[in-house]
Structures are given as structure tokens and as C-alpha cells.
């Protein structure tokens, strides 16, 4: 397997806030890689930096996609190289119909037949969308909007699909459904980079996991390793060995662990 995406030691600022403090990661072709972390750890910032959505960032470091540097380029160009991004909070075009949203997903493509095939493919993954083709996207439920956002991202036939918190605000059943479809998309040849708070779900489908704290990766490993690691268990999966009276000790241990 070759590395599809390599992020090398990037640092990102939001004005004066030092958000990513030197993070590196490699995404292998055909794999599912999950980035886990708490609120404010910088998970979404990594994806935004990758997509070129934060102006003049990354401040330091480089991002290679298929061996070519993409850092500092326009989002529009990065998308054309084959990276698709499902933003946090879905961000569908609310006053366009479902069909038009999907068409916009295929904006970078010109092949009409291919686009038609991909419409079929997306409707296969998400049959609900097929029933809602002419409805405004803003009138869909949260889960349907998430499906639409993923479908829209697939319409550009990406090599790498980046998902930012696909489980946000969805019922457990829907989360399961979405993750099942993500796995299916992956088996059909799309590499996936997943950012999640829901560590257990993410590690269940991921090959590799990374844990981000305060803008640095503190742990990397196969998802099996992470699932069995005592610290990960305690801090991210919510399993505890002892009763929570020792909360202070836990906090101290966590500080040291960083």
C-alpha cells in the first residue's frame, strides 16, 4: 500500500491562536484512518488546513497528496485533485433541491454519463434521497442532510473522502447506518479520513487511529491497539477500572499522559 496523503509536521494558527502544534499523519491508500480527540483538540482544524479553507495556513509544514505538495493551494484546486470533504454540520445548499445539491457535487466533472452513473450509485447508498430528489435540502431531516452531504462529496469521484463528525447530532441507529455506508464506500475503493468524537464507532470501522490533544498527536496505532489501550479505554471509551472518586488522580494521569 502506498501513502495517499502525507501531512508533515503542520502548524496552523487562527490569528493568534496556535491550534495545530506540529502534527504529522499518513493515510494509506484504501484505508480508513480515524482522528479522535476531545472538543477543541484541533481535529476539524486539521481537515480545514488540509482543504485549504484557512487562509495562508498551514504556517509551517507540508501536505502531500499522491506525492505532490498541496499546501497553500486554493480549495478549488485541491478538490480537483481528488479530495472530497464533508464539513462538520453538513452544510448542504438549503435552497437547492437534493438533485441540484448532488449536481453541484459533480461540478468539477464534465462527463455526463459518469455523472448519471454516480447519481445511481448515491441513490443506491441512500435510497431515502431518491424519494426526496426534488425537495429542498433545507427541508430534510438532520440524518438525511448528512446522507446528502456524503452523497454530494462522492459525486466528484474522490480518491480521498474526508468526513468531519458524520455522527454529529444523529440518533444511534442512524449513526450505525452511516458508518455501515462509510465502510461500504471504503470497500469500493475510496480512501477515508474520518474525524470523530464517537471513538468507539470510529475505531470499529477504522484501520488506523490517531489521538489528538491540544494540537498534537499523542498516540497512533492500529484500531485494535487503541481499543485495547488502557488509557484510551479510560479517556475516550468511557470505561473505568475504579470508581470515579479518584477523579483527581485521573486528571493528573491524563496531564502526564500528554
Amino acid at each position: 500500500m502506498n501513502p495517499l496523503l502525507e501531512i508533515r509536521n503542520i502548524e496552523t494558527y487562527y490569528d493568534l491562536i496556535y491550534a495545530i502544534r506540529g502534527a504529522s499523519l499518513t493515510v494509506m491508500e484504501g484505508s480508513v484512518t480515524a482522528i479522535l480527540g476531545n472538543n477543541g483538540a484541533g481535529k476539524s482544524t486539521i481537515l480545514k488546513t488540509l482543504m485549504g479553507l484557512i487562509e495562508d495556513q498551514p504556517d509551517k509544514g507540508s501536505i502531500l497528496f499522491e506525492g505532490q505538495s498541496i499546501d497553500g493551494r486554493d480549495t478549488e484546486d485541491i478538490v480537483r485533485r481528488g479530495i472530497s470533504y464533508v464539513p462538520e454540520g453538513r452544510e448542504v445548499f438549503e435552497e437547492l433541491s437534493v438533485r441540484e445539491n448532488l449536481l453541484m457535487g459533480a461540478y468539477v466533472r464534465r462527463d455526463r454519463d459518469g455523472i448519471r452513473q454516480d447519481f445511481e450509485r448515491v441513490y443506491d447508498y441512500f435510497p431515502i434521497l431518491a424519494n426526496r430528489t426534488h425537495q429542498w435540502a433545507g427541508t430534510l431531516s438532520g440524518g438525511e442532510q448528512q446522507m446528502l452531504a456524503i452523497g454530494r462529496a462522492l459525486m466528484s469521484r474522490p480518491k480521498l473522502l474526508c468526513l468531519d463528525e458524520p455522527s454529529l447530532g444523529l440518533s444511534p441507529l442512524l449513526v450505525k447506518e452511516i458508518f455501515r455506508i462509510i465502510t461500504q464506500i471504503n470497500t469500493e475503493g475510496v480512501t477515508i479520513l474520518l474525524v470523530e468524537q464517537n471513538a468507539r464507532m470510529a475505531l470499529n470501522i477504522a484501520d488506523m487511529g490517531l489521538i489528538l490533544e491540544n494540537g498534537r498527536f499523542v498516540m497512533k496505532g492500529s484500531s485494535q491497539e487503541l481499543l485495547n489501550d488502557p488509557n484510551v479505554k479510560e479517556f475516550y471509551l468511557g470505561m473505568q477500572d475504579e470508581s470515579s472518586a479518584k477523579g483527581y488522580q485521573r486528571w493528573k494521569r491524563k496531564r502526564r499522559w500528554r
Binding site: L53, V79, P87, E91, V92, F93, E94, E95, E100, L103
Partner: protein, 291 residues
């Protein structure tokens, strides 16, 4: 009764040119939330270009008018590219001020180059020809204006509904970040918006020019077009059109029955009332965002 219907007809006729300018404003407002006060003067310059081609270079009118419309598109794109895009991290208010400044510059340019006196545009249709429908007079120029306005509306409707570029414009307006993620080059979209808007505005300018042609000719229609757009909710093309016709009719009826002196002020009274009763405009579609 005959008077009344005649006034309605005149109202619709004058409403058509308001409608064109209203549409032009809405197109830009929709994508960038900036009411473009230079709209009238952009049309003014394009109109004077047509005049120049006809009078000084003796172009036939079937070439001069299309050329001036092409000029209008280029002008719109160039202004967006050279002036508005240069604004660093602009606020909406800042952008509005820029368009007002632009308006003054363009108007000054026209006065300086062509002089401030009244010109007569060698338009192929005289504004004094008219057609009789039963007891009613309609001038041929008014019919032409109506036809042009209707065509512009239909073309724009189809454009926004079915074309890739039109759809991308709507997408950019609704969610610029998401549009960029789709690979839409939003800055180019904005430029195209200015081009199209300038084109629509210029067609209004050309249709006004046979009646009145001097550097202030676009002031009144532009403000009325803006008023119409506000009435329609600023973001809705059908709203602006409806507002424009309504305004044209109210204005004419007011002029006919109440006071001819205050005829052109009535538009603004209507707006004030409008904004008191329905601040979002007649046609604004309010989509409440789910948080």
C-alpha cells in the same frame, strides 16, 4: 375609466424599466449582499458607449447596441475584478460605500467625456411613435421595453434553474464555503454575477436613452429599481419584477388622481409603508436555519 386604464398601461410600461434595474440589483445582492449603487451609472456608461459608436463612429445600430451590451458585461467583470475584489476583508457597509464611490466616478467620467447637456440618441424607434389599441395609446418604445423585460426575465429564470453556472451562482450565494468545497471558483462566480447584472442594467439604460439622455438619466430609474427590489425582498427576482410593476402603476395612478408634482416621491412613501408592514419584503423566502 379610459383614463384609469391608460394610466395602468403607462404604469406597466414604466415598470418594465424599473424591473430591469431591480433585477440587475437583485442579482448582485443575492450573491454578495451588497446593494450595488453603481448599477445605474454602469448602465449609463454602456449607453454612452452605444451613443459614441452610433454618432462618432457611424456604426449601424444592429452592431452598436450589441457591442455596447458586450461592453457592459466586460465593464461589470472589470469593475468587480479591479475594485471590489481588492477590498481587504470588506464589511457589507464598506462594500456599499465602494459602490457609491464607483457611482460618482463613473458619472463624473461620463460628464467629462461627453458633456452634461442633453443628447439625442439616434435610436431606431422614436419615443413618439405609438400604437392604438382601441381607445388606448401605447408607445412602441414602451412595447419594446416590455418585451425586453419579459425576455430578460424568462432567460434569467431558465438560466438560474437549469444552467450549471446559474446553479453554481445560487449555491455560492447560499453557502460560499460549501461552494468552494464543491470546487466552484466562487470569485469567478462573483465576477460573472457582475457581468450579467451589468448587462441587464445596460439594456434598461439603452431603452431609457431615447427619452432622456444626460449624465443624470439613470438616477431616478435606478432608485425606483432599488425600491422595487426592496419591495420584493431584495433576494427574489420575481419579487423585484412584481415590485417594479406595482410601483410603476401606483406612481402613475398617484400622478393622475392626486398630485403630479409628488409623483416620483410616492415610490419612497410606498417603500416606507412596505417596510413598516412587512420588513422582509413581499417575496422574501424566509428559511430558518436549523442550528
Amino acid at each position: 375609466m379610459i383614463d384609469f386604464i391608460q394610466m395602468l398601461i403607462n404604469g406597466v410600461a414604466v415598470g418594465s424599466s424599473y424591473a430591469l434595474l431591480g433585477i440587475a440589483m437583485v442579482i448582485i445582492y443575492k450573491t454578495s449582499e451588497v446593494p450595488n449603487f453603481a448599477q445605474g451609472e454602469m448602465a449609463l456608461i454602456s449607453t454612452y458607449v452605444a451613443y459614441m459608436l452610433l454618432e462618432q463612429y457611424q456604426f449601424p445600430s444592429y452592431m452598436a447596441f450589441p457591442l455596447s451590451l458586450v461592453f457592459a458585461v466586460v465593464l461589470g467583470c472589470v469593475l468587480e475584478f479591479t475594485v471590489l475584489r481588492r477590498a481587504k476583508a470588506p464589511s457589507v457597509l464598506g462594500m456599499i460605500i465602494i459602490t457609491i464611490g464607483l457611482e460618482m466616478i463613473l458619472m463624473g467620467l461620463v460628464s467629462w467625456k461627453f458633456g452634461a447637456e442633453q443628447k439625442s440618441m439616434p435610436f431606431p424607434i422614436s419615443p413618439y411613435d405609438s400604437v392604438m389599441f382601441g381607445d388606448f395609446f401605447v408607445s412602441t418604445l414602451e412595447i419594446l421595453t416590455l418585451v425586453v423585460a419579459l425576455c430578460a426575465m424568462i432567460v434569467l429564470f431558465l438560466f438560474f434553474r437549469y444552467s450549471r453556472l446559474g446553479m453554481a451562482m445560487k449555491a455560492t450565494q447560499q453557502n460560499p464555503v460549501a461552494a468552494r468545497i464543491m470546487g466552484i471558483r466562487t470569485r469567478r462566480i462573483l465576477m460573472a454575477t457582475w457581468g450579467i447584472s451589468s448587462l441587464v442594467g445596460a439594456s434598461a439604460g439603452l431603452l431609457i436613452s431615447p427619452v432622456i439622455m444626460q449624465p443624470y438619466m439613470m438616477w431616478d430609474p435606478m432608485l425606483k429599481g432599488f425600491a422595487a427590489a426592496v419591495m420584493g425582498g431584495m433576494t427574489s427576482l420575481p419579487g423585484a419584477v412584481f415590485g417594479a410593476y406595482l410601483l410603476g402603476i401606483i406612481e402613475n395612478l398617484f400622478g393622475g388622481y392626486i398630485s403630479i408634482e409628488f409623483k416620483s416621491v410616492v415610490a419612497f412613501v410606498v417603500i416606507v409603508l412596505m417596510l413598516c408592514i412587512r420588513p422582509s419584503g413581499l417575496f422574501a423566502r424566509h428559511y430558518v436555519k436549523k442550528v
